[in-house]
């Protein structure tokens, strides 16, 4: 999604008020500047008339000038991605590196991930714990669904461990392109990646493993759907939430007929694996 930048010149006394007003018009983020405020909104929500109405509301109190610019899509994370250090999981289990790093044959599985502003390099606890969980549960011949796949890292490890078929999806167009590219770099072009949400998965499909590294709110809503897609004795791997939310996630999974079989905690992040009872 492309973004629009609204640059406002106004008195600092009114920046917070304008932020609150623009927040209601769909603006997502803001930066205070010496001249006033920069505000950012996705192109589809940009409504210049509504902005003019807000400005008109305050014109008796203060002068506000604005300028609109359309922002090009760009990989802002390129600098970090060009220099990132490989990460390892467990004793010689998994190593994640970029294509510019030298291979290391000491590891059972080596994943090549060029992230291009998508999430999932294993540097974050939520990802590395999922990789570690995966290495402890057999994937050979199993049907795997990766929900919110980002770089495709979890789906790629699943394919390397012999899972088939492997299906992955993400809501972000960029992540989809990136996962396809990474699947190719790892010689697993058969991984099917599409853009969408869980609602786009055919409810008649069945999987042996569902991988979901997302966040607490989405997981709490979607866990019952993941479970409905699982075969008997199927596994659900979840991550992306803090330790203090683990009990809610576990309760939701139990309610849907799952039992906890593995649990990891790192830096206050939690990651759990459930089996369909």
């Amino acid at each position: 999604m492309n973004y629009i930048e609204l640059s406002l010149t106004l008195s600092p006394d009114y920046t917070d008020i304008l932020m609150a007003e623009l927040g209601e018009l769909g603006f997502e983020s803001f930066v205070e500047t010496d001249e006033g405020l920069l505000a950012y909104v996705t192109e589809d929500l940009f409504d210049e008339t509504a902005i003019q109405e807000v400005i008109a509301k305050y014109e008796e109190l203060t002068a506000i000038a604005y300028q609109v610019s359309s922002l090009e899509k760009k990989n802002w994370n390129a600098e970090w991605e060009q220099n990132y250090e490989p990460i390892t999981v467990g004793e010689n289990l998994v190593r994640v590196r970029a294509s510019f790093h030298e291979p290391d044959a000491a590891f059972q599985h080596e994943l090549v991930i060029n992230p291009k502003m998508s999430f999932g390099t294993g540097h974050h606890e939520t990802t590395s714990m999922m990789l570690e969980h995966q290495m402890h549960i057999g994937h050979a011949g199993k049907a795997v669904l990766d929900v919110g796949s980002g770089t495709g890292i979890l789906a790629i490890l699943a394919a390397k461990m012999g899972a088939s078929p492997v299906v992955a999806f993400d809501i972000e167009e960029w992540a989809v392109e990136n996962a396809v590219e990474n699947a190719g770099l790892n010689n697993h072009p058969e991984i099917r990646v599409f853009q969408g949400t869980i609602a786009d998965v055919d409810p008649a499909e069945r999987y042996d493993i569902v991988l979901a590294n997302i966040n607490r709110n989405v997981l709490l809503v979607e866990i019952p759907t993941y479970v409905s897609l699982l075969n008997e004795n199927g596994y659900l791997f979840v991550s992306g939430f803090y330790e203090h939310d683990a009990a809610d996630i576990e309760a939701k999974a139990n309610e849907a007929g799952m039992e906890l079989v593995r649990s990891l905690t790192k830096n206050q992040w939690s990651s759990l694996v459930f089996r369909k009872a």
Binding site: A20, E21, E28, S29, V31, W76, W80, M117, T121, N215
Partner: protein
């Protein structure tokens, strides 16, 4: 040894909605920080404040690591939430479409105290009530200091 600070970035981002686009992307990306990690962490920590504008102060270090502090939402955001007025009044000085009670003003003042340059809750309340008036939100009832 303590890590060497490279600098600070201050942004305002809606809870649960950080993504690598501007302003987060360019602000952190240009420093060589991993934007994706910031987004995952910020969204993880703000699941209870989905959609609420939150000031975030990011400290980045010379070794390309960072940490951040999330502050209380700006007073106008809290006022809108309290008054539940969509868009406020079309003419703030005339038509009052939303209202908040002095109790709500006090609550907001107490929430904002750590981030305001006010020494007493009363002065914070006066400031919040002034902001409400600018936005066309009426404060209903009698101010506690008028009661005595």
């Amino acid at each position: 040894m303590a890590k060497e600070v490279g600098g600070y970035v201050k942004l305002q981002v809606k809870g649960g909605q950080a993504n690598p686009s501007p302003p987060i992307g360019p602000a952190l990306g240009s420093k060589g920080l991993n934007i994706m990690e910031f987004c995952k962490q910020f969204n993880g920590r703000t699941q209870d404040k989905m959609g609420m504008i939150l000031p975030v102060l990011i400290t980045y270090y010379k070794d390309k690591t960072f940490d951040f502090v999330i502050k209380t939402p700006p007073a106008p955001v809290l006022l809108k939430e309290a008054a539940k007025v969509k868009g406020g009044s079309a003419q703030p000085n005339r038509t009052k479409v939303g209202s908040v009670s002095w109790d709500q003003v006090k609550q907001i003042a107490e929430t904002k105290m750590p981030d305001l340059n006010c020494f007493t809750v009363e002065s914070a309340m006066r400031m919040i009530a002034g902001t409400a008036r600018s936005m066309g939100i009426t404060v209903t009832g009698t101010a506690p200091w008028d009661n005595q």
